[in-house]
């Protein structure tokens, strides 16, 4: 093991150290500038003493190191160099106990991407990849490309039909080449990991083998289908791509009329073929998934004639099947409702506005009421809302309590919060603008368990998941419901991620993962529930940690009653040793979260605050990675107090680590009295990254 000390151009004046025989000490004057000259082997354990790890870690990524902050915590605080020595010795003790982080190498074996979903986002991803000379497989479950956009009459806010957006997209994709299309195809199973996936596809035959687009089959087909508000036959065509008719097997009666008149070739047999393809990256672009609004029973969808969804209304109006006189559009049908969807689906307000505009554009005398709890027309969309108000659409603030039939007319009962009246609005058509749910089926197949939620946590850069090497991406509305504009931006982002991934032959990372020891694990499954990223699962009666999802927060390692789960490079024993070596009688130990509270301690130095010398700081990955046993060993050494500094509620870098810490603190506090300690000897505090003042006040208070 070696200790690297940076003197920061002579500012840190360490006395001569004698740390034992097998520990080499290197002194450097200015590591910031000489970083390339410092050679560290990947497996070598080092202790780097110098300035704050926030800087040092950036300079030396991917090494097995413990950083000791001498500059901010000792020199700037005018503490004695004995403390510096203690800090270094403690860090060495930690490094002795821990397992070193193994570098993980992922070979990108197949430089080919799989795009699931042929909607506007999937098309954009595929064409961006193709134009960057990356081969793509585009899998679409229906016989035609276009997804939801191909079902729409127009797009908000301009009201342009999809021919303005989707058709040029498809043209661009076809020109780029490099894409294999799979229609009527479903992803059945996915195996493998980063850079090397094997995907099983199941393709259902199209029925129409050769087609001249003569349309005779549609004329003779006896089966009429109402597809989302618009009538079509069982053999049909959507003018996107491919330019070929298709049979809807769910409704086809196989009467054979179409075969008789067909100029090409039709096979009336539903054949399923399976295929396995290989892929280096997967982009999920499965699009919008409507919430089943018939579950919102008070609005009577499916029970009362004339109650329809926004999509059905749009298609019915556009095809001329519906000419209403009075329309009530109900926003938030089932959204922001604890019984249904607790969240706002972001785009349903625009859909409501779009449908209002569609109806009023076609039939200007239509009386339209939009009933909404709040009209959420964020950003530049406010003008869309204002335009409609000028066009005579009535907006009512309220949440309708029910829709019922009286004298063969639909009645919407709602309160109007602006006028404080109870209204009963009679209408022939009631449109429910419902929310959207996540496509959990596809994510389950990818073994990404989202607990029914949208993959926000999986995708969200704000929570730091970009630290992990990944090869599964989401695009468009699969991430969260989005309009066409947002979907395209999201799709380009996903395409860029794939291009970036395929740049190298392999990815090498030292990102720490949780490792579960089979010998110690008793399959109690407590870690599964504790993991904020759903990275832990049981495969063949063994706990398996998904490398692609594990963020290395360490919450599972503390939750495990047998310490079977351990984070590489920071196992609990290491921290215990560090505490044992560092804490002396009468010290105050501060275990600070690296994301917030540790920065506050640094900030204290920059802002010229000072705290007593006996305050010893240890940096932990998360307040949730502190075990009660760590606290007890500090108290055992005679600590005057133990402070755990974490992020504010809901602001945890690892989603819920600080809540775990809170629960453990409560439990430990309730037992402290039994052991003869004062309850307040340990404190868990939320300390933001700039709250130096708060940090200093707390440690001073604890030092009294």
């Amino acid at each position: 093991m070696k200790v690297v000390v940076c003197t920061c151009n002579g500012k840190i004046k360490l006395p001569s150290l004698n740390l034992g025989q097998d520990i080499r000490i290197e002194q450097w004057d200015d590591l910031c500038r000489m970083k390339t000259q410092l050679k560290i082997e990947p497996h070598e354990k080092v202790v780097i003493a110098g300035c704050s790890p926030n800087l040092m870690e950036g300079l030396f990524p991917n090494i097995n190191a413990e950083f000791v902050n001498l500059y901010e915590q000792v020199v700037m605080m005018n503490h004695s160099m004995d403390k510096a020595k203690d800090l270094i010795v403690a860090a060495i003790e930690k490094m002795k106990a821990i397992t070193s982080i193994e570098p993980k190498i992922y070979e990108i074996e197949h430089k080919k991407a799989l795009v699931i979903g042929g909607g506007i986002a999937g098309i954009e991803v595929a064409s961006q990849l193709a134009s960057n000379h990356i081969k793509a497989d585009l899998v679409e479950i229906s016989p035609f490309l276009g997804g939801t956009v191909a079902n729409l009459d127009r797009l908000y806010p301009e009201g342009t039909p999809y021919s303005h957006t989707l058709m040029p997209q498809i043209g661009k994709m076809l020109r780029a080449g490099n894409i294999t299309y799979y229609f009527n195809t479903e992803v059945k199973a996915v195996k493998g990991k980063i850079g090397n996936y094997r995907v099983n596809l199941e393709t259902c035959s199209r029925g129409v083998i050769e087609c001249t687009n003569c349309r005779k089959c549609v004329d003779v087909c006896p089966v009429e289908v109402n597809e989302k508000g618009k009538k079509r036959k069982a053999i049909y065509f959507i003018p996107t791509y491919p330019n070929k008719y298709a049979i809807d097997w769910n409704t086809c009666t196989k009467c054979g009329e179409c075969v008789k008149v067909c100029e090409g070739k039709i096979e009336l047999e539903e054949k399923k073929t399976e295929k396995e393809i290989e892929s280096g990256a997967i982009v999920v672009a499965t699009g919008l998934n409507w919430y089943d609004v018939s579950k919102v029973e008070e609005y009577g969808y499916g029970r009362l004639d004339g109650v329809m969804t926004t999509l059905e209304f749009e298609r019915a109006i556009a095809s001329g099947q519906l000419k209403p006189k009075t329309v009530v559009i109900i926003c938030c049908a089932g959204s922001r409702d604890s019984k249904h969807l607790p969240y706002c689906s972001k785009i349903c307000c625009f859909l409501a506005l779009k449908e209002a505009k569609l109806a009023i554009d076609r039939y200007p005398n239509t009386q339209i009421y939009v009933v909404a709890m709040d009209m959420r027309s964020y950003g530049t969309f406010e003008y869309f809302y204002n335009t409609l108000r000028e066009q005579g659409v009535s907006f009512i603030k309220g949440k309708p309590s029910e829709v019922f039939k009286r004298n063969e007319k639909l009645v919407v009962r709602t309160e109007d919060l602006y006028t404080n009246e109870l209204l009963e609005i009679e209408a022939e058509t009631v449109v429910l603008s419902s929310g959207f749910v996540a496509d959990t089926a596809t994510f389950d197949k990818l073994r990404i368990n989202l607990n029914g939620d949208f993959p926000i946590l999986f995708e969200n850069a704000a929570l730091g998941n970009t630290e992990l090497p990944r090869s599964i991406f989401t695009a468009g509305s699969a991430t969260f419901p989005a309009g066409v504009r947002d979907s395209l931006i999201d799709a380009r982002k996903a395409a860029f991620s794939v291009i970036n991934l395929f740049k190298e032959k392999k990815i090498e990372t030292m990102h720490p993962n949780a490792q579960v020891s089979e010998d110690l694990c008793s399959l109690c499954k407590m870690c599964i529930g504790s993991c904020p990223y759903n990275a832990i699962s049981i495969v063949d009666d063994k706990i398996k940690v998904d490398e692609e999802l594990c963020m290395g927060c360490g919450i599972c390692s503390i939750t495990c009653p047998a310490y079977a789960s351990q984070i590489e490079g920071s196992n609990p024993q290491g921290l215990t040793n560090q505490i044992r070596a560092l804490v002396k009688e009468g010290d105050v130990l501060a275990l600070l979260c690296r994301w917030s509270a540790y920065n506050a301690a640094d900030r204290a130095a920059y802002d010229r605050y000072s705290y007593p010398e006996n305050v010893k700081i240890i940096r932990v990955p998360c307040s949730g990675a502190v075990d009660p046993s760590h606290i007890m060993s500090a108290l055992d050494n005679g600590a005057k107090g133990v402070l755990i500094g974490g992020c504010y509620p809901n602001a945890c870098h690892y989603a819920k680590g600080n809540f775990c810490a809170k629960a453990r603190e409560q439990l430990l506090k309730s037992n402290l009295a039994l052991l003869g300690f004062d309850r307040n000897i340990i404190r868990l505090e939320w300390i933001g990254k700039d709250e130096a003042n708060k940090f200093v006040e707390i440690v001073k208070e604890m030092n009294k």
């Binding site: 029973e297 008070e298 029970r303 019984k339 029910e402 039939k405 009286r406 009645v411």
Partner: protein, 287 residues
């Protein structure tokens, strides 16, 4: 033979003897055995708004009595059902259970709590009830009033459709009577605000009475003593306030069921009805 503990509450024995009488007689016909709960008190509902915890503890105490008897509870009143179910849910929470224990109560056996009508629907079944009907009441048009706490809050019961309730209508159809569908089926009777704002309560009661009159219903069928107080006892007040003549009999479901089983009018306690159901009895030929 099915056996239940019958929880009466306070309103039924004092103001709705005909409900109890008819329920017991109908149960006897259907071979249901009711055992009385010795020491049972008020369910706690009336003081819930003032002191929720005491109210829940009162309900939990009643549960502990039934639990000691190892019998599932059947209640006659909607509010009692809600209160007992609420307490049963609360007993699963540590803090509440600790208080419950401190008071010397126990909950040794897991029991279920069901409204009388729900018990008929779920445990006896429509088909079996139909087989007991001797005198179908085809000539009657009735409207069903469910009351709030028969199926709400849904997290307590998970029974029936809270927006479009059906069970009472189905049970009424089993007697042969025709049930009339109407708007505002699940509207509250007004009983819950009676103590604070009588004016409002009477307005709410009047709304449904008016619907029944417009629909030409022979009777309004209730399953909760509170609701009946609003529609029957306070019918006069509504008539005086709105200057309308209703004269609408308000029957409990087991009364109507008893009539269809061939019980005479006294066995179902018709003389206790404040609004005399003479015309209704004439119609079915039972004077």
């Amino acid at each position: 033979m099915k056996k239940y503990a019958l929880f009466l509450g306070c309103t039924v024995p004092v103001r709705a003897q005909h409900y109890e009488l008819s329920a017991r007689n109908v149960a006897e016909k259907l071979e249901i055995d009711f055992e009385d709960m010795k020491g049972a008190s008020c369910c706690g509902f009336p003081i819930k708004a003032v002191d929720a915890e005491t109210a829940l503890l009162m309900a939990a105490r009643n549960i502990s009595i039934a639990s000691a008897m190892k019998l599932n509870v059947v209640t006659l009143c909607n509010s009692c059902t809600a209160m007992l179910s609420d307490a049963q849910l609360e007993l699963k929470k540590n803090n509440f259970y600790r208080k419950f224990k401190e008071l010397g109560f126990s909950y040794p056996n897991e029991i279920t709590i069901k409204h009388f009508v729900r018990m008929l629907y779920e445990d006896i079944g429509i088909e079996k009830i139909k087989s007991y009907v001797k005198k179908p009441l085809n000539m009657l048009n009735v409207i069903a009033h469910y009351g709030c706490h028969y199926m709400r809050p849904s997290y307590l019961y998970g029974f029936d459709n809270t927006e479009v309730p059906q069970t009472l209508d189905e049970l009424l159809s089993a007697t042969g009577a025709k049930t009339l569908d109407y708007v505002d089926k699940k509207m509250c009777c007004g009983g819950s605000v009676l103590g604070i704002d009588e004016e409002l309560a009477i307005t709410m009661a009047n709304h449904k009475l008016n619907i029944a009159k417009n629909k030409n219903a022979d009777a309004l069928i209730s399953i909760c003593p509170f609701c009946t107080i609003m529609y029957e006892d306070n019918q006069r007040k509504a008539e005086a306030k709105y200057k309308i003549q209703y004269d609408l009999p308000v029957l409990y479901y087991p009364q109507l069921l008893g009539l269809s089983f061939g019980l005479d009018k006294n066995s179902v306690g018709m003389r206790f009805n404040r609004v005399r159901p003479n015309r209704l009895l004439e119609k079915i030929g039972d004077q």
